[in-house]
């Protein structure tokens, strides 16, 4: 028995056949459930320290009071009431917060739908059309190339392209397709969605591709043999089997876009409000409880969307 076996043996008696019985009587033996805790421990601690505890603080602070320059640790729902100020009085018109969330959801939906469409076909191509493993690897690596530069640069690179005197506009003008520069190319919902799709399609490609390469090719052959058309195979075989990837990719894209305010700010010319932007403005005005309240609301909405998605597909079962 070498060293590693020794360790393994102590940690989990009975794992190595024929060697467990001799030591089983030892009182220092660790219970299997303890071992499981030990194994999950590091991840749990990280999760606790960097996610759960800060989250609890955010929730607590969201119920504090505040003034111009400090937090007042007394229970108050002011962060929330300020956020929804005038929302009932304004009905049936939407108040700022309502409009902002609606806009954020709209952008989120558009980006989700487009990245899903593009991501699905890119993954499909990689998984089913590219036969050689080397090429599959090579082409997936190709997808990561844009990620070699920073997010900000990839985003800002669009500005000289789409601007009033940008490449696209000067091209259009020269070919005589338009007389006036097209204004909605930049600082508009269009440019926001374009930049977000550009930034996040990859997050769709990877999980979907990952699901697709696991699909047993014989299933597709079977569908073909049974006389299914290409479309029928896609709808009845490939899409259902790629669902976990689709859901995971969707969760990536939705959570990122719901919280994004930098891309929306830069590409929208700071004229399009986003849920994340409200939090930033509140922070800048030193209104931490109000910022925390908005963070809690944003989290709740994102959580709701993800719960709904996981209702459609049980990821754990599918994996």
């Amino acid at each position: 028995m070498d060293m590693s076996e020794e360790v393994l043996q102590q940690a989990s008696p009975g794992l190595i056949p024929g060697s467990g019985t001799a030591r089983a009587a030892k009182p220092t033996r660790l219970s299997p459930s303890f071992i499981s805790w030990l194994q999950a421990g590091p991840m749990m601690l990280v999760f606790l320290a960097f996610f759960l505890i800060p989250l609890v603080f955010v929730v607590i602070v969201s119920f504090w009071d505040y003034n111009e320059y400090q937090l007042l640790p007394a229970f108050s729902v002011r962060g929330y009431t300020d956020t929804f100020e005038g929302c009932i009085a304004q009905l049936p018109d939407l108040c700022t917060i309502g409009k902002t969330y609606l806009k954020t959801l709209k952008l989120c939906f558009l980006v989700w739908a487009i990245t899903l469409f593009i991501g699905f076909w890119v993954a499909y191509f990689l998984a089913f059309h590219v036969k050689s493993k080397t090429w599959q690897m090579g082409l997936s690596l190709l997808c990561t190339i844009p990620f070699w530069t920073s997010n900000v640069i990839r985003m800002i690179a669009w500005i000289p392209l789409l601007g009033r005197n940008g490449l696209v506009n000067s091209g259009l003008m020269k070919t005589g397709l338009v007389n006036q520069p097209v204004e909605w190319l930049l600082f508009s919902e269009f440019s926001v969605v374009l930049a977000l799709v550009h930034l996040f399609t990859f997050f769709m490609v990877v999980p979907i591709f990952n699901s697709m390469i696991r699909i047993d090719k014989s299933l597709i052959e079977a569908a073909y043999d049974a006389g299914a058309t290409g479309l029928q195979t896609l709808v009845n075989v490939i899409i259902p089997l790629a669902k976990p990837g689709i859901v995971i990719g969707s969760i990536f894209v939705i959570t990122i876009v719901m919280g994004d305010f930098i891309t929306i700010g830069v590409m929208g010319g700071q004229q399009i409000a986003a849920a994340g932007k409200i939090i930033e403005t509140r922070l800048n005005a030193l209104q931490f409880p109000a910022a925390a309240a908005n963070a809690v609301i944003l989290l709740a909405i994102t959580f709701l969307i993800i719960t709904m998605m996981s209702r459609i597909v049980d990821i754990r079962k599918e994996l």
Binding site: E68, D82, K99, K103, G163, R164, G269, T281, A285, L286
Partner: protein, 428 residues
Amino acid sequence: MTETTKKGFSRRSLLKGTAGLAGLAAGSGVITGFPYVHSAEPKVLRYLGTAVNEGDDISKQCLKDTGIKIEYITATTDDVTKRVMTQPNSFDVLDTEYFSLKKIVPSGNILALDAKKIKEFDNITPVFTKGETPGGKKIGGQGTAPWKVLYLEGKDSKKFATSATEFVTLIPTVYNADTLGIRPDLIKRPISSWSELLNPEFKGKASILNIPSIGIMDAAMVVEASGKYKYADKGNMTKEEIDLTMKVMTEAKKAGQFRAFWKDFNESVNLMASGETVIQSMWSPAVTKVRSMGIACTFQPLKEGYRSWASGFCVSKGVSGAKLDWAYEFVNWFLSGYAGAYLNRQGYYSAVLSTAKAHMEPYEWAYWMEGKPAEKDIKAPDGSLLEKAGAVRDGGSYEDRMGAVACWNAVMDENDYMVRKWNEFIAA
């Protein structure tokens, strides 16, 4: 250029040499009973501020003159305030704007400086101490004018004093009179009023800055210029006045007046240089920057006057002992001329005019401060050409510009309400 490099090199190698010798002496044990090499303790000050005052040249010169090493921590105005509130021990010297004082002072996180220890204090321009130009022109005091928040009642007081005391909240460093920047080559007609910002002629080509406390002041200048309303104090509006101002802005936004809003220096430069906007709120050095790219851009004086801002130094409440002495040494050095001249050459103004003047060439002083045509080519601190001989500074002399200030950047009593309304404007 090579000369400075060489100088820097030799100085550095000299330092290295001395340090090496000292180390050798200490290590060899030759000098017994020598407790400590005092000179080895580095004089370092962590300097928190916006990028305005923070220049490599300034820190290098400071190290050369005083041996104090400045470590810059750069943040936006909002983030500077946030940091003072949440991490007062993360910096030593604070460089911030006077309007932030209404938030910072009550928090008790900063130390007032002692005017007696500031050598040039009595030479600080009367703009700060009396609210008038050296020539005696009265300056508009709407908003958080520096002289309203310059003094504290006592050393640890959280209250602003109404008359001069020994305890100064911020020792002034730099200030300017802001107005609109325009692209004369694309507008092709004279612009003379703030109201032009909302002129439908510039639909989709205007911009203001998305920093609520400053943006609303620009908006108020526009509202007043268009004759819609006259404020008692643009820098301290009532809720009704805020509603009115934001209504005017929201209507313009919905009509597509604005191309984009900007939040930092570079954004404003890019908007203007690329021709996305032709008229917008702008800072003087941003205009200079656009111009140095070879694109026509004017920092347009307007008949309603300027919106001004000013910043200065104080220290964190955690600073004491030797570090506090260095802080005073640094502030005194900053007012002694080199930094002032450097800032003047960028189009800002320095707090002590006499020392800055001594560090500038007469033709430079005449161009930047006296509004005279440039006798020679005007160069930026980095040596690049700003203006050819014969050019005149936009807005004229120091007297003319500072004398025409209408209001100062401010934090209003209704700041909280204003920020919420600003958010609605952005979301509209």
